[in-house]
């Protein structure tokens, strides 16, 4: 739960990132001078040409990478490494295949770092599985689940440790069109129910317009913020809505 809605939760402050060249390869400049802030409770979509460094952006917030210069701040302090407050949802779900659905969700709760919370693991797991509509599949292994179900399971596992930000890296890209539309509603439903802040990388402009409060348009690599679009349309939005089409066309002309 974000206790101060509207508070600046994540902030990129003149961030640059260059991967050092190794073994005869040139260094790669991925991000150049990026400024961005995300408010608590906000649903922010990030779009941009493929390979521009959208995922890298999320890895910086997750703490898997550190900027070469500038700072990524979380609630005012620089991000030092991975942490429970900022959970990543990977494009190819990184579920633990040897654990059942329920055990995957419980994994985080049973770690030493989280045991002090005193929350009832069983009850929390049951509630989360119900939220992502997997309550009938508690004893299944990830290999028995469909693509959409795996993605929902990964979201449930991330929510188990009560993060403040969900970092979603093209979470729906691997799904078929129909499942994808259902999952878009699911993610919005989860967002509305949990009031988490969501950073949502996608290459689908329509998807971004349907889902987000704000859309960040990234430039080609080395990337920076090209434009920010506030979407003030009421939800639920449909791909077929003319207003959605207008915004999407404006964004896609920016990307060309």
């Amino acid at each position: 739960m974000s206790d101060h809605p509207g508070e600046q939760l994540v902030r990129f402050d003149r961030v640059a990132l260059t991967f050092p060249g190794s073994a005869g390869r040139h260094p790669v400049e991925v991000i150049r001078d990026l400024d961005l802030h995300v408010r608590a409770g906000e649903f922010v979509a990030i779009i941009g040409p493929s390979g521009c460094g959208k995922s890298t952006l999320l890895s910086l917030v997750a703490g898997y990478l550190t900027p070469s210069s500038g700072q990524v701040l979380f609630r005012g302090s620089p991000i030092a490494g991975p942490g429970r407050a900022r959970m990543m949802v990977f494009q190819q779900p990184a579920l633990f295949p040897w654990l059942t659905t329920a055990e995957n969700v419980a994994y985080g709760l049973q770690l030493k770092a989280n045991r002090s919370h005193g929350r009832n693991v069983k009850a929390t797991v049951a509630a989360l599985l119900q939220l992502v509509q997997l309550d009938g599949f508690a004893r299944h292994y990830p290999s028995d689940l469909s693509g959409g179900m795996r993605q929902r399971l990964e979201i449930a596992r991330a929510l188990a440790v009560d993060p403040q930000v969900l970092l979603m890296d093209e979470p729906l890209a691997a799904l078929d069109a129909l499942t994808r539309r259902t999952m878009q509603r699911e993610v919005l439903h989860i967002w509305e129910k949990t009031c988490k802040t969501i950073l949502f990388v996608t290459h689908d402009i329509d998807e971004a317009v349907i889902m987000a409060d704000r859309i960040v348009v990234m430039a080609p690599r080395p990337t920076f913020v090209l434009a920010i679009e506030e979407v003030r349309l009421p939800r639920p939005r449909l791909r077929e809505d003319p207003e959605v089409g207008t915004v999407a066309r404006r964004l896609s002309s920016l990307l060309e």
Partner: protein, 256 residues
Amino acid sequence: MRGWVLPRSAVRLSGPFTVLVTWELAARFGLVNTLLFPPPSKACADLVVLVSSGYLSKALSASLFRVVCGFALAVTVGVSLGVAMARSRLVNDFCDPLIELLRPISPLALFPLAILWFGIGDGSKIFVIALAACFPVILNTFAGARSLDANLIRAARSLGATEFEIFTGIVLPASLPHIFTGVRLAWGIALIVIIATEMVGATVGMGYMVLEAQQTFRTERVFAGIFVIGTIGFATDLGLRRLRQWLLPWYRETDS
């Protein structure tokens, strides 16, 4: 097309059955030299003698003791070394050339030395079995720990796992299918090596029993011994496969 279908198990049994019956008849009717190919019934009768006299159990327990000790040593050393090599480049760079130099040497070539070092008793055989069987465990454990999806570790780290929790909760279970393949190979090698070493230098054991029978022209005993050795190998491998299904119910093998 399909009318009357034989149960699959009946078809599978009919192969060995046909061979045995043909052989028995050929021996009975004098079509083959019975000194070289005694009828299976005679080998069976000798097997009964071996069992009732207690000679078989003495030979078998001596052999199995050596196999189990050598195998246990190989698995312990192999898993530890494989994991250490996968986790540390220093350990890998140090051990890899040694392993690649030792691996092509027939373990039997070292047996004369092993006798000098550990004597003619159990020690030399356990040493050679452990040496021969540890390579597939090392290599498969290494491959398993290396092929681990980096995002699994990232996810665990975000959820709050310590380095120790990542090792025991992620690296080890993720490597288990590979480790198990190595263990199965190691067991097969151990069963091969024990017979060979017991034929070269031993006073008790299955290999010694078969060789002694050959030297006294009791070919039916040679076949009885071979039958027991084969049955042990077949049954234990079946047991290991069952054990894997029980230990790794989540693991989906493409080819079983």
